[in-house]
Symmetry: C2
Amino acid sequence: MGQPHLDLEAPPPLPPGALRVMALGGLGEIGRNMAVLEFDGQLLVIDCGVLFPEAEQPGVDLILPDFGVIEHRLDDVVAVVLTHGHEDHIGAVPYLLRMRPDIPLVGSRFTLALVRAKLREHRIDPVLVEVAAGDDHVAGEFHCEFICVNHSIPDALAVAVHTPAGVLVHTGDFKMDQLPLDGRLTDLGTFARLGAEGIDLLLSDSTNAEVPGFVTPERSIGPVLDDVFEHAAQRLIVSSFASHVHRIQQVLDCAVRHDRKVALVGRSMVRNMGVAADLGLLRVPAGLMVRLDDAMTMPPEQVVLISTGSQGEPLSALGRMARGDHHHVTIEAGDTIVLASSLVPGNETAVYKVINGLARLGATVVHKETARVHVSGHAPAGELRTLLNVAKPRYLMPVHGEWRHLRAHAALAEQTGMTADRVVLAEDGVVVDLLDGKASIVGSVPIGNVYVDGLAVGDVGEESLQDRRILGDEGFVALTVVVEPSTGTIVRPVHLTARGFSDDPAAFAPALALVEDELRRQLSTGPYDAHRLSQVIRRTVGKWVSDTYRRRPMIIPTVLEV
Amino acid sequence: MGQPHLDLEAPPPLPPGALRVMALGGLGEIGRNMAVLEFDGQLLVIDCGVLFPEAEQPGVDLILPDFGVIEHRLDDVVAVVLTHGHEDHIGAVPYLLRMRPDIPLVGSRFTLALVRAKLREHRIDPVLVEVAAGDDHVAGEFHCEFICVNHSIPDALAVAVHTPAGVLVHTGDFKMDQLPLDGRLTDLGTFARLGAEGIDLLLSDSTNAEVPGFVTPERSIGPVLDDVFEHAAQRLIVSSFASHVHRIQQVLDCAVRHDRKVALVGRSMVRNMGVAADLGLLRVPAGLMVRLDDAMTMPPEQVVLISTGSQGEPLSALGRMARGDHHHVTIEAGDTIVLASSLVPGNETAVYKVINGLARLGATVVHKETARVHVSGHAPAGELRTLLNVAKPRYLMPVHGEWRHLRAHAALAEQTGMTADRVVLAEDGVVVDLLDGKASIVGSVPIGNVYVDGLAVGDVGEESLQDRRILGDEGFVALTVVVEPSTGTIVRPVHLTARGFSDDPAAFAPALALVEDELRRQLSTGPYDAHRLSQVIRRTVGKWVSDTYRRRPMIIPTVLEV
């Protein structure tokens, strides 16, 4: 299998007639998906999403793809194709458009509706090009053909990009639910036709490559919900992703069958379902919906709340309910809460905290580990093999996955008969050229993490994060001494501030005495040197705290001269 | 179902003839298991374990049960019964024995061997009472009878405590593997006999109460390992818990069958397997083991390394290998790594980071989600029901679980025909009295988290943790101004130190000018007031940073008077 060179050099200039492919995100991680295609000086971007931070990136709100590689060439970008409306595919669009607002955004109706709402918050008025499955759109040298795929959000598309160098197909995120609620099947016929014509390079979703078999239909959740509704004697709350229109549709249908009214809880849930209903993607029976205020005055057994917070977000409606501090909703013993959602890796602790909080209050909590109230939106191994067999690409480049997923996808390709040299295993920044029908890794460019924290983009970097990790684990102790430099006398004894180290305010008292002694000794035995005094403070306190506590708080000495 | 009162009062004095039961840990959480029994002024402790911290408890090494409830009564403790040698059952023993070293510790041979090794590190020489399944031990008014149970560590015991108030049975951790490697079956016969004689209160392991069915035998892992060994052409590394003797035994047996020598990697692995071999619990064929140094000079296909690090610990041997910075072991493309272990909730991100690191280097990683290389050590629903049907307790108190597990266990009990009033749902600190054959909640005592951080116990509390969380997410900015108080003049302009806020060293320059202005205005318009100046600094910087960045770093103003 094409072993990625872990120490690649910068790529050569793009040869004439070649198509270049590079991911700025989404290869080696789940999130911030962004592929950049280059042909004859023109760039086509496919998706532009965000990545959510891990515990090792404390305080960060979002991680963006590193635009550094293309930001000096934004005028060369002929379009951004958006395969669907999930945050990991559209979330970074505002940050790209801040730099050049008139880059055309090409996508399906629902995708563009979501991205338009997002851009409005950033006060950006975008250039939108709406396409549907089967449509063509020509952006410079890139002739794009859009293909229907089925995913956990409506209106998802794959894209075939026809270029003089060859044909590249990007699946976006997809699965092959054979009984989709909206009838939108992944269009295997078109994949087969493209395959027969010749797909040079297939970029395919690897998220579930480690999972054997085929997806369970979304539709199968309906009867499970029916059973839960049937047994719920009191209040019923269903939590899900705010973009999962089909999941919400099933809850609405279930509510109709069980004579419950529906109230939506959570800003993004209300907004997205409004958009979906306006576009005819969510069928809302007349009289079904009630306002939350009204819902709370109705008998609990006559309402179902549909809420955000399925990932254990502490500030979400459900998070507050679990702690018993939601303004409107109080959980009572015997209530039923359904988490009809995935458990995104990294959120486990938060989600279980919510489940335990609800269980403690006496609620029955139904979640994916206790009942089939969720199915994944990504094709597992069986479907990935199917796509490979149908599309028969010359080369496969697994995308959208951590390394474990990319490798698993590569192994599936080998099972279907592709030889190892036909699988291009790349990570973010690795440059792949398609030339004369042959795809190969030609180099790599450095890709960093661009952090959004509050209003600022990029000012928090690895140095700040490293400081945060130390401060967060160990706290700090700051020691300030005021010195008269001409005489080398201490004008004011050492002032100490420590936070996050100990609940005992006197913890550092012994160290303070030691420092005073050391400083006096220093000043009496040599010439005054502010830097040296700082070192003395740092060393003395560092040794004391290590010996006494076996801990390493951040030590910040300051010598102020007056 | 016995609904716990969430706002219970302090319990009344223990009535004569009553048995009191209270958990200091393990109810409402997975870990720091510790139950305290009281009869006629005497205390019996069952287990004394640690809890591992979550992300919300940054920098903490361990969490202990809150001994506050019993520390003024340590002379009343007649014994500590240890059901088995896992950290969440024995890890806090050294901290208890620091306060009274001669409390007798009662447990099986392997359990005591592990606790002895642990106490040696703390320089404590304990009083040990070795017991085996079937043995009796009388500790004051508590007549203890030990029962064989099967778990993921050898030599585990349940305990029946006969008291004048009635019979309490505590399962410890258990499962019902019907083909255990060492032949030690969970002794249903004794549970049945005790049930026939009358069990008044059963405390039973709830960890897997949400999991349907029955455990897969530990033995079933052998053929899976055989298959992995069969296909491994190069280096092979198996990672597991250092206390899982039976899992390691299977790796040894597999190594023999596939002509590989074995080297152990990791301090705790070497130590525990030494103990297990000495006690005859691990059968090590002569000539099988080699030293790691020697293993590294042998052809890779002739060795298997058995390593710690299965939970993704970054400093473990496996964690270092995954990052490519282990001193001795370099992962090559084509190597095979097996994580033959559970994935402890909260460790997911760390474990996947290790798996991805290994996959990136080209290794094939086999883990519980891709092959059956792990089975749990805890009884799932089917076995919990079986125990209830065999032991027929009058009352059940689910233990060892978060709220979701305790409630699921209660639901299982109701399925077996126990009425809701026979299930005592309690959390840490809730006091249950058994009087005249009736178990009931009579109150609760406050239970806190006692944090071990480095060498100190208890000095880090909620205040320090709250500071750490803020510092870790947002960093801090400290501003110091030196003032001559009698004249109210600023002797030295504001000195600013910020860490963890921004990688831009000039980030706060505009704020600094604002603060200087505000301070001067303050000093020129009113009498000098140090506290007021601090407030001005905090408010000015706080508003500026919130307006500019939408962030909330810790702001630490200091006014130094000279």
